[in-house]
Subunit: 378 residues, 2 copies
DNA sequence: TTGAAAGCGCTAACAG
DNA sequence: CTGTTAGCGCTTTCAA
């Protein structure tokens, strides 16, 4: 062994290895991408360990608040971390830990107040347990939805699917890969996937019962979008409710989901013999209210109008809207509870269906005594 | 150097390493947590490689659509992946790649329509580029906000801070660690952080100009929450606008941000000598409209009312509300553009301030000819 | 075209 | 109480 040769390299080696740091010849370092404008190397646990003169394990322990570290060491580590502006990589941490502390939510439409509130409820509840929320919007696109769900799930520890549009068979197939999974406004009969829903039927039934108690026998449904499942639910419930009442007549008008849709329906509403209008949702009801007003039809004297959802404005329309309120935030909150249980190895528990609460305001009243009713029936 | 010492370790290694697969004695496997109910091992790239009889590198290539793989091999790999229900771990991928394909958004309040729309705009724009969105709500909590921001940023490749409440000094300090960062409705003079904002002053100025052109000289401001920066902005702009008009009188009433707040202010509005009311936002204006109506005050005959924001309902109030519209979605969309540019090493570009658009509807009209105006002034 | 090997940054079981 | 070591699952030179 040549003296000079060994001198330069050898003695150094053991020492360096001892630190558990830099190999002799730093191997090809892949360039860091991203990182924005500031191109400093970004502190790693290794660098902090080096600076503090301890092992990476110790740094890890300190960063995670392990009590089994000598105070002086801990202090040194913290100082080094501070100095280097060290921020543990959550990605690396997730990989090592096998969990991300993140859950995902897929919604069909972020513009829908229902989903906005679910999002909020879920986000807050998750935050309470130190978890973050990833959101994705499927834009009502079925194909997209499945893809998004799988991808979102892979980035997180659990998934909430709000009003998924995918066909049952596909959902069933997906449900395994997506677990832990919670379904909102959709159930999967026979599966163990927890499902929280709003019982639209009950809401509609309550509305119909209310109208009937006021003497209404001829109803008109302002239907929502044909593709909407909640429209299907509400429509079916309406038909069911009327079917059980022999003397109840139900007409239907294809309408939509917006104020304009309801507004445009006003003329038809006026020309029909219905004494009460059941609108798909509050917006439609509101539009109808507005259109009827313009036509000189007085609500509820001439015709009663009901909405659904109890959006914040429902109480401020003229007249204030009789509608069914649904616990939107609560849905998100409870979704978290279920998900959290699942993530901790618990089991699904019983599914629940939230019962809408009927809010009787001033857009409904007794059936007009002198309406076209008798004339038409004779 | 002891022989045995070297013996124990040296010979075994190379063989094991050679296969690149299973060590002789499978080492302690840490139990997989999470994973929901289904406790199958979860396919990894290694298992797929094994099943397909290729190396992990090849599997990786196939999964990423590299064209340099023999068709037959690729097919085998795909088959194996399919059979094992293999889903590449995005966490591992992120770690290896150094990027997460995720960006974060921090908002003070998810219930605020402004932020809901920003969220939507940002989410959609990000999705266009294959990125996901992480959301967090600070609940108007300044301390929380900074923590959330740092944490969210560490989980993603970039951050959008909407209307951050943190003090300037702290924001300035944070801005480096948070890069790539885009600010919404907040700027950081002298920094390179891109900032997109709504020019509330311009909106207020437009409203005042409109009112003045109708002859109004005595205005009443229904102020928003004291803590709200947008209230401060709007208020300041209002004072400034009135200051330049010597004959303009500005009164102010502490009000709030909700319908109820505006509603409660109606009586005071009636009893004041102001001919026009500038409300903090549309909700307050709407409440005032409603309250005034109940008091028999006719808008705009007796008094004009303006809102701010152009919420969806503004056009449906009675009378429809004159207000200033702001491009909420656009803010999110452009935030993405800036962020994306930054993430790709581009530079910030010029900050922009979106000018609200004045929407003149029917809640404003000429100053009452026979109002209390002359009487009061004499 | 394919595989071996060296990471990415962090955690944790196991010795000392 | 601290360090060593072996992963977590994927990507990417570099050689063959």
């Amino acid at each position: 062994m040549s003296l000079t040769g060994d001198h330069r390299t050898e003695p150094a080696r053991p020492a360096e290895r001892g630190t558990g740091a830099e190999p002799v010849a730093p191997p090809v370092r892949r360039g860091r991408r991203g990182g924005g404008r500031s191109d400093r190397p970004a502190a790693t646990i290794g660098r902090v360990a080096e600076a503090a003169g301890v092992s990476r394990a110790t740094v890890s322990r300190v960063m995670n608040g392990s009590p089994t570290v000598a105070p002086e060491l801990a202090a040194r580590v913290r100082a080094a971390a501070e100095a280097l502006q060290y921020e543990p990589s959550l990605v690396a941490r997730s990989l090592a830990l096998g969990r991300t502390s993140t859950v995902s939510l897929i919604v069909p439409d972020l513009a829908n107040p229902m989903f906005q509130d679910v999002l909020r409820g879920l986000s807050n509840a998750a935050a309470t347990h130190g978890h973050r929320l990833l959101v994705a919007e499927s834009n009502e696109n079925v194909a997209e939805e499945a893809i998004l769900a799988v991808e979102a799930r892979r980035r997180s520890d659990g998934l909430v699917l709000a009003s998924p549009r995918v066909p049952e068979a596909e959902l069933r197939a997906l449900s395994e890969r997506l677990a832990p999974l919670v379904l909102l406004n959709r159930d999967l009969p026979g599966s163990t996937v927890p499902s929280l829903s709003v019982d639209y039927s009950a809401g509609i039934a309550a509305i119909v019962a209310h109208l009937r108690s006021l003497g209404h026998r001829r109803l008109l449904y302002l239907a929502g979008p044909a593709a909407s499942t909640s429209n299907r639910d509400r429509r079916a419930a309406l038909h069911a409710a009327c079917a059980t009442e022999p003397v109840c007549t139900l007409a239907e008008l294809a309408c939509g989901a917006t104020f304009e849709d309801g507004h445009a329906a006003a003329r038809t509403v006026r020309d029909t013999d219905a004494t009460a209008v059941v609108a798909f949702n509050d917006m439609v009801a509101f539009g109808a209210l507005s259109g009827l007003h313009e036509l000189g039809v007085v609500v509820p004297r001439d015709v009663s109008v009901t909405g659904f959802d109890d959006i914040p404005f429902a109480r401020y329309t003229t007249p204030p809207l009789t509608t069914a309120s649904i616990p939107r935030n609560e849905l998100g909150r409870q979704a978290w509870d279920r998900l959290w249980t699942l993530m901790n190895g618990g089991s699904a528990g019983h599914n629940v269906a939230f019962q809408p609460r009927l809010l009787v305001r001033e857009s409904t009243g007794p059936v007009p005594a002198d309406g076209p009713d008798p004339a038409e029936r004779s």
